[in-house]
Amino acid sequence: MPSLKDVKMKIVGVRKTKQITKAMNMVASAKLRGAQARIESFRPYAAKYKEVLAELARKVEGAAHPLLAERAEKKGCAIVLVTSDRGLCGSFNGNVIGQAMRLAKEKAAAGMTVSFSCIGRKGRDTVRKSSFNLVSQYPDRMGSIDFPLASEVAQTVISGFEDGTFDEVWLVYGEYVSMGHQPPRTLALLPLKAPEQEESSPAVDQGPTCEYVYEPDEAQLLAELLPRYVKVQIYRGLLDTSASEHAARMAAMDNATRNCNEMINSLTLLYNKTRQASITSELIDIVGGAEALK
């Protein structure tokens, strides 16, 4: 039987942990709302971009833009890994990193040298410990993601692709599907696949679109648009990962708070039992003493 004081101390400790997890849950939910709002405001840009690019790509059929070309011989592969900076968000980072590592091993088995570009500290730490090459890292930036950051990342992979260091570029991030579901997702960044125009998109019934005027000509416009599309996709990955991180943390902290409650309950029970046991033994002592005096 533990002593009364020990149990009391333990209850106080668990109660303090509960306060922290509860506060973290609330902070995460506030941040999640902000992240969701940013995804919302990015959506019109991304949707329009996709629409314009799909339209243009259809026009310039079989365009031989360097960023679109699938290379026959593949030697180098880059993986852009987006994770969070901080832990305490359940298995979220583990899942994303696991997916990236599987992809990396697959590519390494196919005879490619794999290089990582990491946004977020968690992914960077794992890659640093692994045998893979870390070419660029952006730790402690997930709290302040913006489009220029996405541009910077995109610029490094695009120049790597253009000078032949990378023949393939992948993006691995945590997709934000809903509050309870943030699966890791792998996306091929380069060579670019032009987005398909969706059949149900409103652009189809906006009247004839065939007599578009292009300034400058289609090929030049495409050269202008394609690199930016990489940035758009990376930015999307950043926004999604940030929202997913907060959602995952909320769920993890909610769980932790619940566990704390359970623990406090069982400890309180133990405390009462211990107290009663000590009272009983004291009573036995007193009764025994009185009995002896008779």
Binding site: Q206, Y212, L221, V232, Y235
Partner: protein, 133 residues
């Protein structure tokens, strides 16, 4: 009078969403005006001013490149950053201009001249647009 709908969209927000009588953009091949029933057009834009007219009054927007899509009386401008003339932070633009000028003045290997040039261009254009508040 016929109008067209103008949307200026950046990755972070929709800067302008308005019915306009006319839109004038700075295309890479020169400035062009868009009136209602304009032919479908897709044009890359230069860093510069975008002007649109609502009820006979001109409004100015700073646009940092990007492109404009005109289709079916709907003008969509996609830019990495854009600001209404009234929202431009002139102090920040002044500072950016000075910084870029300084960088260009003391050229050495460390200074990325093209980037400094672009930054200078953006700052000057921002200040230009800001005069039209």
């Amino acid at each position: 009078m016929a109008t067209l709908h103008l949307d200026v969209v950046t990755p972070d927000r929709t800067v302008v969403s308005a019915e306009a009588e006319m839109v004038v953009c700075a295309g890479v091949l020169g400035e062009f005006g868009v009136l209602p029933n304009h032919v479908s057009l897709l044009s890359a834009l230069k860093i510069g001013a975008l002007r649109y007219r609502v009820n006979g009054k001109d409004e100015y927007v700073f646009v940092s490149g990007g492109f404009a899509d005109v289709n079916n009386n709907l003008v969509t401008v996609l830019a990495e950053s854009a600001e209404m003339a009234a929202d431009i932070d002139t102090a920040r633009a002044e500072a950016a201009k000075r910084r870029a000028e300084e960088r260009l003045a003391h050229r050495d290997e460390k200074v990325d001249a093209t980037r400094a040039d672009a930054a200078l261009h953006r700052a000057v254009m921002r200040l230009n647009v800001a005069t039209h508040r």
